[in-house]
Symmetry: C2
Subunit: 474 residues, 2 copies
């Protein structure tokens, strides 16, 4: 039986998405245009993402810092590509207290500027390097079209900013952090990704090059999941970050930055959820197991408590729903909220020595013995859900990944059912613009270790330079 409050995702994907956000109480529209209220269910997912990523960052030697929210315009202007990229979507503070400011300030759309200004004041010698800093914060970009989590004027993210004494080390950091994101997407979010470099046109303003983690949604639309940038000496030259190297000579430092945002929550929804509500991979679900005792029987509720406490001591986040609602109501509610596993304890089952497990991903119900293996069985089921979600998404990606040799091939694919389109490219921006005319198709990234399928550009037919994956994007 289908949840009636939720539009089918095959009928109207955009409406389905907003139905999920509302029914699972992830976010609410706020009285502030283009901004959302992160409700407890949505914010708890972000907290879990933060916890996992933060531990990974720290294990690699990164430290957290916090820099100011506001950036004076003149400071931002020192790096011309950056101001050009972000000024058109800036939120500007022009009055402070009762006075008009002498210089307007932008609410940070990203913090390269402030980090570089700070680094310029503290970096003196190669002995101070590397500096591996990260911050968790809010940023703002004055978007016209917004959609909860995917694109909002204010969003939450982390931005890592590092300084190194050599090009090699900074490039290795760019690569290392790209792999942290890839691992996070695949092994926690259960979202298979393609990684690679962006083209010149699609790279971050001010970067030498940008690496990206690209995912495919249920409807075949692509989502940029996280990015890792190599800056070379661009910012260090603009902001004067110099260090005495081992030869005792002044040298401009080498920098990187890398970030991932609350947009990942949107990706999670669009990859795994279904017509019955949210579906969460167990490793990112804030609550992994709900235990529903059916009836008020003493034996049943005490067994529920016992299982709950066993699960919790074994590192599984579970809770017992003893509220006065009917079991059917509870089942539907926990389903729409995406709790990965529901344990049902009913009188009749129990008399036969059984309890029932319901898995959210396939909605199957499994009877198991009420014995000492309960925790182990639930842990196995959580593991199985985690890998099933990844495999389902991977299969879908494979089905929705195509190769194209001509512009007509691309038109044909994108008009029928969009997805990842792999095709050769000559490296000319004009050909990228031609692709963009097809429903906004953009290069996602350059494929590194795949064998080229031809030697001709999919657009102009001239000599191909790169094998590229293309897609329609959020």
């Amino acid at each position: 039986m289908k949840n009636k409050a939720i539009t089918s995702r095959d009928v109207d994907f955009a409406k389905w998405y907003t139905d999920i956000v509302r029914e699972a109480h992830l976010a609410d529209y706020s009285g502030v245009k283009g901004c959302i209220v992160f409700e407890p269910n949505g914010y708890a997912i972000w907290e879990k993402m933060q916890k996992v990523l933060d531990e990974k960052f720290k294990a690699l030697g990164h430290q957290n810092v916090y820099l100011p929210l506001l950036i004076p315009e003149s400071l931002m202007r020192k790096e011309s590509e950056l101001i050009e990229g972000f000024a058109p979507e800036g939120a500007w503070v022009t009055e402070g207290g009762k006075n008009k400011l002498e210089e307007r300030m932008i609410i940070r759309p990203t913090s390269e500027t402030l980090f570089s200004d700070y680094y310029a004041s503290i970096v003196k010698s190669y002995k101070d390097l590397p500096l591996l800093y990260n911050q968790w914060c809010n940023v703002m970009r004055w978007e016209k079209e917004t959609r909860p989590f995917l694109r909002t004027r204010e969003f939450l993210w982390q931005e890592g900013h590092t300084v190194h004494a050599s090009e090699e080390e900074a490039k290795a950091e760019t690569d290392r952090m790209l792999n942290v994101y890839k691992d996070f997407f695949e092994n926690y979010l259960a979202i298979p990704v393609i990684t690679g470099q962006k083209t010149e046109r699609e790279k971050f303003a001010g970067a030498e090059y940008t690496c990206t983690v690209e995912a495919l949604m249920y409807n075949g639309v692509a989502l940029q999941g996280a990015t890792s940038h190599y800056f070379g000496q661009k910012f260090s030259k603009a902001y004067g970050i110099q260090f005495l190297n081992k030869e005792n000579k002044l040298e401009n430092a080498y920098q990187t930055s890398w970030g991932a945002s609350t947009r990942m929550i949107g990706g999670l929804i669009m990859v795994h959820s279904d017509d019955n509500g949210l579906v969460l991979p167990p490793k990112i679900a804030p609550r992994q197991v709900v235990i529903v005792p059916i009836g008020q029987d003493e034996e049943i509720t005490s067994l529920a408590d016992k299982i709950n406490s066993l699960l919790n001591t074994n590192g599984i986040v579970s809770f017992v729903d003893k509220s006065e609602k009917s079991p059917g109501f509870k089942f539907a509610q926990h389903e729409v909220n995406g709790i990965p596993v529901r344990v049902e304890i009913g009188k009749r089952d129990l008399e036969n020595g059984k309890i029932c497990l319901a898995r959210r991903d396939t909605r199957e119900r499994i009877q198991i013995e009420n014995d000492d293996n309960i925790v182990k069985n639930i842990q196995h089921l959580l593991d199985d859900i985690q890998s099933n979600l990844f495999n389902t998404a991977l299969r879908r990606n494979q089905e929705k990944t195509f190769t194209a040799f001509t512009l007509d091939d691309v038109k044909d694919i994108m008009s029928k059912q969009p997805g990842f389109v792999k095709a050769m490219w000559c490296g000319d921006e004009n050909c990228e613009l031609k692709m963009k005319e097809i429903r906004g198709t953009k290069s996602r990234c350059i494929l590194e270790n795949e064998k080229p399928i031809s030697d001709k550009c999919v657009v102009c037919g001239k000599k191909a330079k790169h094998y590229v994956v293309w897609g329609i994007q959020y």
Copy 2:
């Protein structure tokens, strides 16, 4: 031997404070006026504070959410006391993208407005209540005079906002959260506090009443550490938060809010630190123990690693300093950074079966046996430092707490050495203003369970209404 980079706190307390902030690398001045860069050592203290408080909040049933950074002016104006209080120190966004906004927006100085607007849209019935939400975020107040951590234009904090179906329940929440703060200050920050209600003049704009946690710094100046407000129906009337009560009648909800900020880091410094740098209570120190092997001897470094791993598995956060600096340099550095315990492992000691522990608070060095009791001994030492810091602060508070019967008493105390001054008060704001003429002395809070020392107001001599503690404040 004294750290030469740090001014003595008895000579120039303000300079001593900024010296500590700089030398312990807690914060750096930024290119943005009135805002600081939280450096790794400073931010790590905030992360530890967040972790402890967040766990306490959640254990009491609170959930985290996140609301927008910007508040439209008209929304703010619905509660007149609030806008009057905060508009003069607002940072206003007037341009978004390339356009001038139709209505300017204030960067949140606090979020009662947005929470109330949100609650008005989701609260329907007493069955929805209570709502116990909290958010961790940045806020901005356009201060003229700033000082790292104590008063900066942007700061970080948590703000809890709750909605209840009855006055009793909301008042109990106000009280409960005040006690959470009191417990946190005394048992984690090792800072003894006085708690009680603020006077009408000193309460939060828009609150029915405000409860506060008041601490005394080393120099006898008072610091408001955290506050908990009872709003009654003030905001629910202004923003239309109504619920159907058990009698099926519409009723305005009862609200509270409570907050604590990065200002607590300033309090920590000013209560415990000394002329040699930062001193941190072990329960809030991001790193509790540093192990310094003296020399490169294999036996010594492997023992350092062994002790480190033993400490970590026992829940003590420790690290080994194997850098190439001299032992003396390392000792000074870890001292200025406030690592509570230093373990020194030297060849000669080890030959006698000993290692050496140095405690940061008293700077004593203690030889202990190199045996199976090392972890237990270090844990005991950490516990002892924690309670010693609290007791030292408590003794100082007692020495700096005075009683006054006349204005001359107050003048005499405040001109010699400021501190907490306990005195009777008639309840008239004019008498508060008279007190303020004495070096800015303000009421800190009304004492609840203490026996009045007289029946006459310390200022006007008329009938006293309250027993109040007064102080000069940061």
